[in-house]
Symmetry: C2
Subunit: 472 residues, 2 copies
């Protein structure tokens, strides 16, 4: 999946000029380029790595089995990704959600339940109450202009951990909430501000949307992997996409922008930076960016996540009435597990997520020990057969030299308050900003990446239309 | 001061090999190189910018007047900087501290006091009690191994703002504390964790050390500017220092390190990265650094500070019994002012500090408005003569393309807990880490930079001594 036929096979020369240069060929950059192309604007996409898709990366393991090492789901309230999938004929199918889910607690006891969560048990009622409080507070976020939110300073001055310490007295509920933060933000509650947490909840349309499967963000998967839509977009753009073309500098003047790459310089009227904040901050901008935008990027580190796929001859857990979905509290590296088998269930696949503090410890182990630890947890959950997969793959996103982590970048405490008004996504002269972190709706998700690229393209189309004679 | 005779005048070729490459010619890198040179270890220093000194930058305005745009003070408990100054014959003199200090509050009233602080007034008693509490807590920091501090997780999971909100009920005392955080850390209390705050206090030897002049960190200044010591160190190293040599990549293998620059590649046995975290994180490390070190650097953004110098024919405020020292609460850009006149008081100089939120607003103004605002505050403090300086200079550190801010980098909440054990300064194979942010004592100060370089050099000398035949 990583490469496709029409790009990358040869190193075509990078053009010396274009009306708009798009930096980055993830979903944001590709969506921006498509929107510009459709309006007849001359555009070129420069991608540093050897593939498109960004933090979405599918691998074909053969025999029709595709695994998603990065973003993989689409939900019913994500119309932009669904529309792109439909346009390019990329089929989806329901995430396997039948049977009982498992919960493994530090006492070693494995509990089973059906539906969206256990109906009773340690901390469940207090957790549900906290979720309700979170939704009530998130309703106070001004999604049109987050920096204009009434409680911005108060909420951005405290960590989520401080909020939990104050607002949630039940220790088991706090443990459940911490795992939710790990799973959705790939950080610990101490790492992000209450404001960013609530913004993200509001951006998704509510706490349940982030956490659940049916009707929510994890509802469906892509038959050929989530990268397939990006590959189709790149196919459509054809020669406009240049891989292996790292942008090292962006020089802005009154008359235009010079985009420096390791393969030559491109002159342009406008540029859209659609790289992740961690990659964008490494570009040498001259003159220096405004403090607000620079600090926004610099102080928005990526979360830490790894995805581990274990492949089996069959999804044997289904025979035992298990969904393959599990939540693991306490020490183990694995935080949650999903059934990631292909639609025809010709083989069984379990995907384990390792994130935040769990990843920090696990990533220091040799590969052999990392594997042993994950399989040991799977064995505890699903029995002896889980210990002997036919295939085992890992993708440690923090060590990816283009994304620097995943799923998304999380502004540190204080960043929204100090720099949100303009640093979040306001254009800096001829430089426009895309990427899922600049989305108001489904921030951090593929759908948000798509709309962010479309928004940046619209900004430029509007500007160009206002110029005399429509010249760039 | 910026350049000196023996380096930079010509672009000497960068050598193709050295036993040790030092990246960065600030006080840390220069101190490391001196220590290695003295032990006979072949060393080369690669500096990206066109000068040495890093975040210490002195400018000769003529007629014997030198202003310090960066770090400028030395205190009596900073023996390493004092020793370097003595070795190279760089004289110091006492910061002007006679007369009454001023406090300007939001009500527009300017209050006068002598000594280290007002004896009474709004919030003074509660502020003093808070400072005592802070010192008591800071005594619990394990400076030998900060990550082993008993309350690490608790203190690193909350912002300083949350701590003030809980521990300090007097609103005026909170206002005083906030200004102290701005002045010393160049951030707001919402930006850093309680742990990093307490670590920094412990590292300096107590809260008073950070805040005061006589007997403390702000006690003395350098006759020829604080950069003069760095320039003398570089003179001593001579041809070993290469300016205008940006390091773009560091590739480590079992047999050595390749240090890639824009002027060629240097092969070495070991490398010391003595760049600021903000600059170091932009180096392309292959293989990828361990997650702990990468995140440590990425999640330690520089503070935001600008220094503004206004020069007058005489230090006229002294005639009025004023020290020139002032503290400004509320809206104005200027947070604190010091008398920065030369030792002979041949002219009068006021230096104003603009930092954190104040800088974020002020930096967006055109230069003319920035100047008008600073001078307006000086006029309120010192009278009409202050509004008409003969010279006016600004240095906005966040827009410095090498330092990316100042004074120092501040790990975000969670970073010490998650990555402090190894990410702080543990060598990564052949890569060693220096810079004031890696110092246990006087972290963030020039003295800490010097010891950090010496420590990194000692690490390597010890390693080399343990090798068969002492070969690198």
């Amino acid at each position: 999946m990583v490469t496709h036929d029409t790009i990358g096979a040869t190193m075509r020369p990078v053009p010396t000029s274009a009306t708009v240069v798009v930096v980055g060929a993830g979903y944001a950059g590709l969506s921006a380029a498509l929107a510009l192309q459709e309006r007849g604007v001359e555009v070129v996409v420069l991608e540093g790595s050897d593939r498109v898709g960004g933090r979405v990366l599918s691998e074909d393991l053969g025999d029709g089995l595709v695994v998603d090492h990065g973003g993989q789901w689409v939900g019913p309230t994500q119309p932009n990704l669904l529309a792109a999938a439909e346009r390019f004929g990329c089929e989806t199918f329901a995430t396997y959600d039948a049977g009982r889910h498992l919960e493994l607690w530090s006492d070693g006891v494995c509990r089973r339940f059906r539906g969206s969560g256990p109906l009773d048990g340690a901390g469940v009622a207090a957790y549900d109450a906290a979720a309700e409080l979170i939704d009530t507070m998130a309703a106070g976020i001004n999604l049109d202009d987050p920096a204009a939110t009434e409680h911005l300073e108060e909420w951005d001055s405290q960590t989520v951990q401080s909020f939990f310490d104050t607002a949630v007295t039940d220790q088991d509920a706090r443990t459940r909430l911490a795992l939710s933060v790990q799973g959705v933000w790939t950080v610990e509650p101490r790492d992000i501000s209450l404001f960013h947490f609530l913004f993200y909840v509001a951006s998704a349309g509510g706490y349940e949307q982030l956490m659940e499967t049916e009707g929510c963000a994890q509802e469906r998967r892509f038959v050929r992997g989530a990268q397939s839509v990006a590959l189709a977009m790149a196919d459509h753009l054809g020669d406009l996409v240049h891989l292996n073309t790292r942008v090292t500098g962006i020089h802005q003047s009154d008359t235009g922008v010079q985009v420096e790459t390791e393969r030559g310089t491109v002159s342009a009227s406008r540029v859209i930076v659609a790289a992740s904040p961690g990659a964008a901050v490494r570009i040498n901008f001259t003159p220096a960016l405004p403090v607000a935008r620079h600090r926004w990027m610099e102080r928005s580190p990526m979360g830490d996540v790894a995805k581990v796929h274990a492949v089996y001859d069959t999804p044997f857990w289904r025979e035992q009435g298990l969904s393959g979905q599990a939540t693991v509290y306490g020490e183990p590296a694995v935080g949650v597990v999903f059934d990631n088998s292909p639609p025809d269930a010709s083989v069984g696949v379990l995907v384990s997520f390792v994130y935040a503090d769990r990843l920090h410890r696990w990533a220091t182990l040799p590969e052999e020990q990392r594997r042993a630890e994950v399989l040991s947890t799977l064995e505890t959950l699903f029995g002896a057969r889980a210990a002997a997969p036919t295939r085992y793959t890992e993708k440690l996103w923090p060590q990816d030299q283009w994304a620097y982590g995943g799923y998304a970048a999380n502004p540190a405490p204080g960043v929204w308050f100090e720099h949100g008004a303009t640093g979040w996504r306001s254009p800096c002269g001829r430089i426009h900003w895309a990427g899922t972190e600049t989305a108001a709706v489904w921030n951090g998700y593929i759908d948000g990446a798509i709309t962010s690229g479309q928004r940046a393209a619209t900004e430029i189309i509007t500007e160009i239309a206002a110029l005399p004679g429509h010249a760039g």
